[in-house]
Each structure stands twice: as structure tokens, then as C-alpha cells.
């Protein structure tokens, strides 16, 4: 079922583990090279930067192929365009299969983009056809295509797409069951998210090493949907929008207290669970969801002017992180604030760029005379330079 040979995927897993051991100074370079030559990985996976470049070029090549095909076919009617789109989807998928077999691309940018474009071409069919766009049909079809791609190419992004489509599909189908379904939808969706999350936790402990990233990515999404299904803002505004309830900002919803409680309790619960189990994925998701809770509260209750809220939030964050940094300078409870492996130069360079981007807001000198040789104010500066 998988496009890659098991031995290739296994060797890749061994290489990844060895890289981890090298980065944490557990093994030396000699042992690392020995492991890499004994378990040679023939899959081609370049760095992130190269993946982005390759992905961009793939988009250029495919989009212009699409343009050329459309020009050659001179299709203008709806059925004609649908046929062109289907041919394009088939071409993308065929190219993907051939390239993976011949060149063994594995997360190389090219294969990722071809998968995404296959799905985009298929979904475009739903938009082109004159019928009302069927969201159930679209999410259903996309779900199956993405599921196939994620299984065959062990692709994490496709796994996430599968989950999203599955979630939307289930939600829309469930709503068809009438008023009781509408009222119980949040609970059902929460249960579904929780069950999938637990199932994945179990699966990722198993021997399916080649799908570990897929499991991680979908676990993250299931944590988010579990929160979102119980979030007051999402429930109120979504039902308002979908069932045309015309509720105003202050109107209550049934069981509102329950959803407020869930909105408040789920993020701290994630953080506490994550800290106790040393599960960074759950912990970081919890941290990010705190921000979502803050925005939910702010939407309904404007307590203070926005700058005061920012001031308070800023002080709390600085105090919290500063005391944690001081407190964990000596490791406690299995945690430390010290960077144990400070070899990551990229992180520092990225940080410097972020600083320049977020803080640099001074105006730029208009038509400076410095290099232009004009008679502007910059001329004075030239002398000193």
C-alpha cells in the first residue's frame, strides 16, 4: 500500500534517531557515520529551505502546464473545464507516483506540492460546476483522496487534511438529523475529537514508526477541535450563522455556563497534563489556546481599554516567564530553563530578524540625498560618513 519500501522508511527512522543522538552529544561523529552507512537511507529529503524553493518551482511548472493544457483544449463550457481539471488531477498524481518511484522523493517539496495540487484540482471541480457547492460532497471526496495520499506517502499534511475533512463531513451529516442533532452537535464533536485523540495516543506507542509525524499532526488537530467544539464563541457564532438565529451579543445560549466552563478549563488542563507527562505538544497547544480563551472573553465582555489589557497581560507574561527562568535555572521536577544544546545558530539568526521586523517602525527618510547626490538633508550626513 505504501509507495516507499519498508526498509527505506525504517532506515530513515534509524537515521533520524541517530541525528537526535548526535545533536544531544550522546554519540560522536564516527558512530554517526557508521550508523548512516549501515542503514543507508535512499529517500531524498532536503532541508526546509530547499523544500520551499523546490515547492515554489513545482507550483510554477504545474500552473503553467495547466495553462498550456487549457489553451490547447480551448475548453470554455463547464463540462469541458471539469474534464481539463480531472485530467490535471490525474497528471499530478501520475507525476507524483512516477517521481516517488524513480527518485524516491520524501518530503522533498516537489511531492508535497503535487499532493496538494491533486486535491486542489479535484476540489475545483465542485466550484466550477453550476450546482450549488455541496460541502458534504466536497469534504467527503477530499477526505478519501487525502486519506489515500497520507497512507500511501506517509504524509503528515495530508493526514491533517483528512482529519479536517472528516470533522467537517461528520458535523454536516450529523446536522441533517434534525433539531436534537443541532442541540447536541457540540457534545458529539467533542466526543469524536477525544476518541480520536486517545486512539492516536495508543497508535503512536505502537510500532508504526513511519506514521509518527502523521499521528502527531492529527493529535494536535484533535486537541484543537476538542477545545473548539466546546468554545463559547464558536458555538454561539456558528449556530447564529448556520441556523439564522439572529442572536445579539448579550443573548444567552442554552447551557451557556457549561461552554464557558469548558472554554476556561480546557487550556489549563492541557498545560497541566502536558507538564506532568512531559508532552510538549499538549503543553504548547494549551499555551496557544489560552490566547483563544482571552479573545473569547474579550469579544463578549470589554472589561478595560485595550492598552490596559495589553499592559496587564505583558506584565503577567514577563513576571511569569522571568520567575520561571530564574526558578528553573537549577533543574527542578525534570525541567530546566537552560538551553542544553545551544548549537542552533539558525534560531538566533531568526530571532534577530524578528526583532528587526517587529520593533523597527521609524520613518524612512524621503528621497535622501546621500546616494542620489541631491541637496537634501542627507548631504550633511555624507560628510561624517
Amino acid at each position: 500500500m505504501r509507495a516507499y519500501q519498508d526498509s527505506d522508511l525504517y532506515n530513515k527512522y534509524v537515521n533520524d534517531q541517530a541525528t537526535g543522538a548526535l545533536e544531544t552529544f550522546c554519540i560522536d561523529k564516527d558512530s554517526f557515520t557508521k550508523i548512516l552507512t549501515t542503514y543507508p537511507c535512499k529517500l531524498y529529503t532536503p532541508d526546509y529551505f530547499i523544500r520551499i524553493a523546490l515547492g515554489l518551482l513545482t507550483i510554477v511548472a504545474v500552473l503553467f502546464s495547466a495553462l498550456l493544457l487549457w489553451l490547447l483544449s480551448s475548453a470554455s463550457s463547464t463540462p469541458g473545464i471539469v474534464i481539463v481539471l480531472i485530467i490535471l488531477a490525474i497528471l499530478c498524481y501520475t507525476a507524483l507516483e512516477l517521481l516517488v518511484q524513480a527518485k524516491r522523493y520524501y518530503n522533498a517539496g516537489v511531492d508535497n506540492i503535487l499532493m496538494v495540487l491533486t486535491i486542489i484540482f479535484i476540489d475545483s471541480v465542485f466550484f466550477v460546476s453550476d450546482y450549488n457547492t455541496s460541502w458534504i460532497g466536497m469534504s467527503g471526496v477530499t477526505m478519501f483522496v487525502a486519506l489515500w495520499l497520507s497512507i500511501r506517502f506517509t504524509d503528515a499534511f495530508m493526514a491533517m487534511l483528512t482529519y479536517c475533512c472528516f470533522f467537517i463531513f461528520l458535523f454536516l451529516v450529523y446536522l441533517k438529523f434534525g433539531d436534537i442533532a443541532k442541540a447536541t452537535a457540540p457534545v458529539i464533536m467533542m466526543i469524536v475529537s477525544a476518541v480520536i485523540c486517545l486512539l492516536l495516543q495508543k497508535l503512536s506507542r505502537g510500532k508504526m514508526y513511519s506514521y509518527q509525524y502523521c499521528f502527531k499532526a492529527v493529535t494536535f488537530l484533535s486537541l484543537v477541535t476538542l477545545y473548539a467544539s466546546g468554545n463559547y464563541f464558536i458555538i454561539k457564532e456558528l449556530s447564529n450563522e448556520m441556523f439564522h438565529l439572529q442572536l445579539s451579543l448579550q443573548d444567552p445560549i442554552p447551557f451557556g455556563w457549561l461552554f464557558w466552563m469548558l472554554t476556561f478549563l480546557i487550556p489549563p488542563a492541557y498545560i497541566i497534563y502536558g507538564i506532568r507527562k512531559k508532552d510538549f505538544l499538549v503543553m504548547r497547544t494549551g499555551l496557544a489556546l489560552i490566547a483563544a480563551t482571552v479573545f473569547t472573553v474579550k469579544y463578549y465582555y470589554a472589561l478595560l481599554p485595550v492598552e490596559m489589557e495589553m499592559l496587564i497581560a505583558g506584565i503577567i507574561l514577563i513576571a511569569l516567564s522571568y520567575t520561571s527562568i530564574k526558578y528553573l535555572a537549577m533543574p527542578k521536577y525534570g525541567y530546566t530553563s537552560i538551553d542544553l544544546y545551544p548549537s542552533r545558530k539558525e534560531a538566533l539568526n531568526a530571532e534577530a530578524l524578528i526583532i528587526a521586523e517587529t520593533f523597527n517602525k521609524q520613518p524612512v527618510v524621503e528621497s535622501s540625498g546621500l546616494y542620489g547626490g541631491g541637496s537634501g538633508g542627507g548631504g550633511g550626513a555624507t560628510g561624517e560618513f
Binding site: 510538549f280 542544553l340 542620489g372
Partner: protein
């Protein structure tokens, strides 16, 4: 880490007993939350400084400009005082910062300095009509601070200030939006700034003065230079082929250098900028009279084949670089 896997590697003799013990001990080691806490701290500082900025802006009438300036100056001096007291002194080599707090206090001091000079210029016109001087003075100071305290963030601020003084924006999100590349002065300023930054990069490496600053200089310099070269080509339409030859020459020089230094990042950047220029020239030539419908088909064909060609080129060199680094594959 997968202990059963490493047990197997030990049995196969790929790692020794000592290494295995280190790996096994890994799970009892404390987990580092360094970057998580640092991100939170950074977020807090951004929120706080923004909030203070808004507060001041809203209440300036009741605080008064003079009082505001005094407060800014006092905090600024306090920040630099703290930094000087805690710094380990100047060295040509890289200095590790004494603690996380230090980096942010220094950054705050530098940001307040920029606000301060902007403020006195805007309110009291201290530098008169010489706006350039109002940017030049803090820039010099930022460069000194970046070198003395060894801070990459402050260096980036100094470089963006240098560019602002020359009249251009260089941060990633603003480089294309804020700059009016239809103004030849901006293009010349960009070219000169790019060359200047590249020279600084080269000097820091050759003279071994803060050699780890070299990437920051080179990165900013390269992007400014290439974007200005492309702008030059788009602007001077009658001689666009001459400009293209210059662009091709610079790209080729980068390409050769990147191969020599095994820097794939700069290889990709040089090739991609060259590709943008080449595509412009190809489209220009196809739009010449005489092609008519042919151009409509030749255009897509060019992009399809050039795209695939570049993908093959990148992968080819990527494999060579990997081999040179002593890695299989």
C-alpha cells in the same frame, strides 16, 4: 529516544557501551523549556512596550513633552548602565551574554534611544532640516552597542537604521511594500547599501572581528543588492539587456562562491533572483511583435521546462553538497 533501537545498534557494534549509557541516561535528564520561556518573555515585552506606547500617545497632553523626554532618557540611561555594568567587556570574538535578562534590557535601551531621538527631532526639531542626521546618530550608537555587547538583534536594528538613513526599508515584510522602486534614487541607495553590507560581511570574516556577524551582514546585503538589481532592470527599460548581464554576472559570482563555501542557501537565492530576471527578459522578448499566438504557447512552455530544469539543478547540487559534507546520499 528509542531505547530498543539503540540496544540493537549496540549489539551490532555501531555504538559503544559508553555511548549507549549516555543515550539511556537521556530520559532521566531534565527537559529544556528554554525556548518556550524565551518566547513568552518576548511576547510579554512586545505587549508591554506597545501598551506603554499607546498610553503615552493618548495621555501626552497631561504628561507634557518635557516630562516624557526626561522619563525616556532616565530609563534609557538606566538600561545602558545595567548593560555596561553586567557586560564582560569588548572582544573581537563572540561573547556569550551573561543572562537572558541582559539581552532584553539592552534591546529595550536601544529601542528607547530610537524613540528618544525620533521624539526630540519631531517635537523640537533638534537636528533642524537634517533628518538624515536624526537617523545617522542613533545608527552609529546602535552599531557601537551591537559590537560592544555582541548582540545580533541590535546589529539587525543598526542595519535597518543604516538602510533607513539611505532611504529604504529592508525588513523582510516591508522590503517590497514600502519601497518605491520607480524612484531611481531608491534603486541607487539600495545598490550602495547592498555593496556596503557585503563589504562589511567580508571584512568581519577576513579581519576576524566578530566573525559570527558575517551571516547577518551578508543576508541583508544580498537581498538588498539583488532586489535593487532587478529594480534597475525594470526601471531602465531601454538598456534592460545590459542590466540583465550585470545581474547574470553577480548571480554567477554568488553561484561560484556558494559552491566554494558549500552554502546552499546563497546558491538557491542567487539562482532564484537570476530566474526572476531571466523570466522578465524572456517575456519581454516574446512580447516583441511577430510572435502573436506563438508567444501565448511559448511562454508556458518556457516556464514548465525552466521550472523543472531548476528543480533538477537544485537537487543535483544538494546531493553534491551532502557528499562533500561526508554524508551518504
Amino acid at each position: 529516544m528509542d531505547i530498543p533501537l539503540f540496544t540493537q545498534l549496540l549489539r551490532e557494534g555501531l555504538i559503544d557501551e559508553q555511548e549507549f549509557n549516555k543515550i539511556a541516561a537521556q530520559k532521566d535528564k531534565p527537559v529544556s523549556v528554554h525556548w518556550d520561556l524565551r518566547t513568552l518573555l518576548y511576547l510579554g515585552i512586545v505587549l508591554l512596550t506597545t501598551a506603554v506606547g499607546i498610553l503615552i500617545y493618548k495621555n501626552i497632553a497631561s504628561i507634557g513633552h518635557m516630562a516624557m523626554l526626561v522619563i525616556l532618557a532616565v530609563i534609557c540611561i538606566a538600561c545602558f548602565g545595567y548593560s555596561i555594568k553586567n557586560s564582560k567587556g569588548y572582544s573581537n570574538k563572540k561573547i556569550e551574554s551573561p543572562n537572558i535578562w541582559f539581552d532584553y534590557v539592552l534591546l529595550l535601551g536601544c529601542l528607547l534611544l530610537l524613540t528618544f531621538t525620533g521624539y526630540i527631532q519631531f517635537q523640537y526639531n533638534v537636528f533642524g532640516n537634517q533628518w538624515g542626521l536624526a537617523l545617522f546618530m542613533p545608527m552609529v550608537f546602535l552599531f557601537i552597542a551591537a559590537y560592544y555587547f555582541d548582540h545580533l538583534g541590535v546589529l539587525s536594528l543598526a542595519i535597518t537604521n543604516l538602510a533607513a538613513w539611505a532611504g529604504i526599508s529592508v525588513t523582510p515584510l516591508r522590503i517590497l511594500n514600502d519601497n518605491d522602486f520607480n524612484n531611481p534614487h531608491i534603486i541607487y541607495a539600495g545598490l550602495a547599501t547592498g555593496v556596503l553590507l557585503l563589504a562589511a560581511s567580508l571584512m568581519s570574516k577576513l579581519k576576524n572581528i566578530k566573525a559570527h556577524f558575517n551571516f547577518t551582514y551578508k543576508n541583508f546585503g544580498t537581498h538588498i543588492l539583488f532586489i535593487s538589481l532587478l529594480a534597475l532592470m525594470f526601471y531602465f527599460e531601454p538598456i534592460f539587456l545590459v542590466c540583465f548581464i550585470v545581474l547574470a554576472g553577480v548571480s554567477y559570482w554568488y553561484f561560484k562562491n556558494a559552491i566554494k563555501n558549500s552554502s546552499f542557501y546563497f546558491l538557491v537565492i542567487a539562482v532564484l533572483y537570476f530566474y526572476v530576471g531571466l523570466s522578465y527578459v524572456v517575456i519581454k522578448l516574446l512580447l516583441l511583435p511577430g510572435y502573436d499566438m506563438g508567444a501565448l504557447y511559448l511562454g508556458p512552455i518556457y516556464f514548465i521546462f525552466s521550472g523543472i530544469g531548476l528543480i533538477r539543478l537544485f537537487i543535483h547540487y544538494n546531493k553534491i553538497f551532502k557528499k562533500n559534507a561526508g554524508l551518504p546520499g
